[in-house]
């Protein structure tokens, strides 16, 4: 019903069908050729992702944006089939806007999580067929509870809270260990880091992932290509600008200088 502010329902009533139909017949490898990560820092949550899109061995595109702003206080980072992931992001973006405008209040953070989970569940057939598996991270600032939150999902729509951090994609095994080490025995826990230091860690983590995972794009200084880093705090979502990324990379990440 439109009166409940459910945009997805409105779309379905208009004859919209989500997802690519497919039948699970052949066992396929799940391809999530990417690295995305999110962790809590002093003021909120940082979400970062590399920018490479691959098809098998081929690099399709090196300027993909996998960290998508859904609304002023939430971000979805995507790993998996981009077509499905972008479609999900588009549905979510419109759903949250529609809810806010019809109901005259913001959708709760739990409501937002539920919305993503529902879409993933709808997408299970395509995920199993190998044509549409998506394993996203959803991070945001819960304005009611005044705290940052991170959730990650498996391709079937189960949702897990990442208390301190979450990773997804093919490069994630590499950096998961690093994150654990950093957070436990590092100079200071991630959650107390100021913004700039958090960004340095994110750049280092993504560079490490690119070192061991061919499907993760690292930093390409010649092409002026840096990962996407977004911060979500009380004030909303902010993207770190390229010049700032460059200077941080040159001063604290690169060792050749």
């Amino acid at each position: 019903m439109g009166l409940q502010g459910d945009f997805y329902q409105v779309l379905k009533e208009q004859g919209y069908a989500f997802g690519i139909g497919g039948q699970a017949k052949v066992e396929q490898d799940l391809i999530t050729a990417t690295t995305i990560l999110a962790f809590k820092y002093r003021d909120g949550v940082l979400v970062a992702g590399d920018r490479r899109a691959t098809a098998g061995n081929m690099v399709m595109y090196d300027r993909t944006d996998k960290v998508l702003e859904i609304d002023r206080h939430s971000v979805m980072a995507i790993a998996g089939v981009p077509a499905t992931a972008y479609e999900m992001a588009r549905i979510l973006e419109h759903s949250f806007k529609y809810y806010r405008r019809t109901q005259l209040q913001e959708l709760s953070f739990e409501g937002k999580l539920r919305a993503l989970s529902t879409l993933l569940k709808q997408n299970v057939p395509a995920a199993l067929a190998g044509t549409g598996a998506v394993a996203p991270i959803f991070a945001g600032y819960d304005t009611e509870q005044e705290t940052a939150k991170i959730y990650f999902y498996d391709i079937l729509g189960a949702e897990f809270e990442g208390v301190e951090y979450a990773v997804s994609g093919s490069g994630s095994p590499t950096i998961r260990g690093i994150l654990h080490y950093l957070n436990t025995w590092g100079e200071q826990p991630l959650s107390t880091m100021p913004e700039e230091q958090a960004a340095i860690q994110a750049l280092r983590l993504l560079t490490s992932a690119a070192e061991f995972d061919s499907a993760t794009g690292g930093v390409n200084r010649d092409a002026n290509l840096y990962p996407v880093i977004k911060f979500i705090a009380v004030g909303g979502v902010r993207t770190m600008a390229d010049p700032q990324l460059r200077s941080l990379f040159e001063s604290d990440v690169s060792r050749s200088v």
Binding site: K97, R100, R101, G236
Partner: protein, 269 residues
């Protein structure tokens, strides 16, 4: 009994009269453009009358709250489905009005066996650049008009003309000026409505100088102060400078207090 054409014309005429009566005590709505956006302003009792429709669209309405809600929902649904299926830049005010709600309102108005929408709508659309803003109004019979720098809704066209005549003489650059002008134009309209009520013999108490239609700002502020006893000022802007795709922002009490002219802000708490 409405089968004969003559009866039908008569029925529609009656309807017009009935609807005009319904709006007599409504609160006017003012939409003005200023340097960095569009301001929608009205005064309301309880139910809000200014709403966000889409990234660059805002709605102000007069009339029955249930009818306004119905039309608001159909505008929201059309806008979001279009924005999703095509792109947000394809969601334009004039398409929503001309092909969306205006035909529905007109049909309801002319189907004399059914209830009409008791509603007048003002839809503000923020352009990409200043000077490209537009304000669209629809009357209860489905007639729509598109205006450039200001538009109003009032109980009757006489009231609206009076408000427009006032607005024509003002210049609005900053948000403060826009708010000042809008509240004054609202006062001009509201006063004109009171006057019309009085002339019709339905005297309402507590109005000053109904015979003197001065647009002296002190008189207007005094009128506003009186109205503030039972109503609240409702303001929202479509602000071109706002970050992100959604440009709508309701102006909260604190911000409003800062922006209102000094004479007003002291007692608008």
């Amino acid at each position: 009994m409405y089968e004969e054409p003559y009866r039908w014309v008569e029925a529609v005429g009656n309807r017009r009269q009935y609807l005009d009566d319904q709006f007599k005590q409504g609160s006017p709505v003012v939409g003005v453009t200023y340097e960095s956006g569009i301001l929608l302003m009205t005064m309301s009792k309880g139910t809000p009358k200014v709403y966000e429709i889409y990234d660059r669209l805002a709605l102000g309405g007069m009339g029955h709250p249930a009818d306004l809600e119905k039309l608001r929902f159909s505008l929201l649904e059309m806008a979001h489905v279009e924005g999703f299926n095509r792109s947000p830049s394809d969601v334009t005010g004039s398409r929503l009005i001309k092909y969306g709600v205006a035909p529905v309102i007109k049909q309801a108005f002319e189907e004399v066996f059914k209830a009409p929408f008791i509603v007048k709508i003002l839809l503000a659309e923020l352009g990409q650049k200043s000077g490209r803003d537009s304000l669209l109004t629809i009357n209860y019979d489905g007639t729509f008009e598109e205006k450039g720098s200001y538009a109003v809704l009032g109980a009757s066209s006489a009231v609206e003309q009076e408000m427009v005549a006032y607005l024509r003489l003002q210049s609005m650059v900053s948000l403060e000026q826009a708010i000042d002008t809008a509240v004054c134009a609202w006062a001009v309209g509201n006063r004109a409505q009171y006057r019309a009520l009085e002339e019709a013999g339905e005297h309402r108490e507590g109005n000053t100088d109904p015979d003197q239609p001065s647009t002296d700002s002190d008189a207007l502020y005094a009128h506003l102060q009186e109205c503030l006893a039972e109503k609240v000022i409702e303001c929202a802007v479509l602000d071109r400078c706002q970050q992100g795709p959604s440009k709508y922002r309701a102006i909260g009490t604190d911000e409003l207090r800062r922006l209102l002219p000094k004479v007003m802000s002291t007692s608008s708490t």
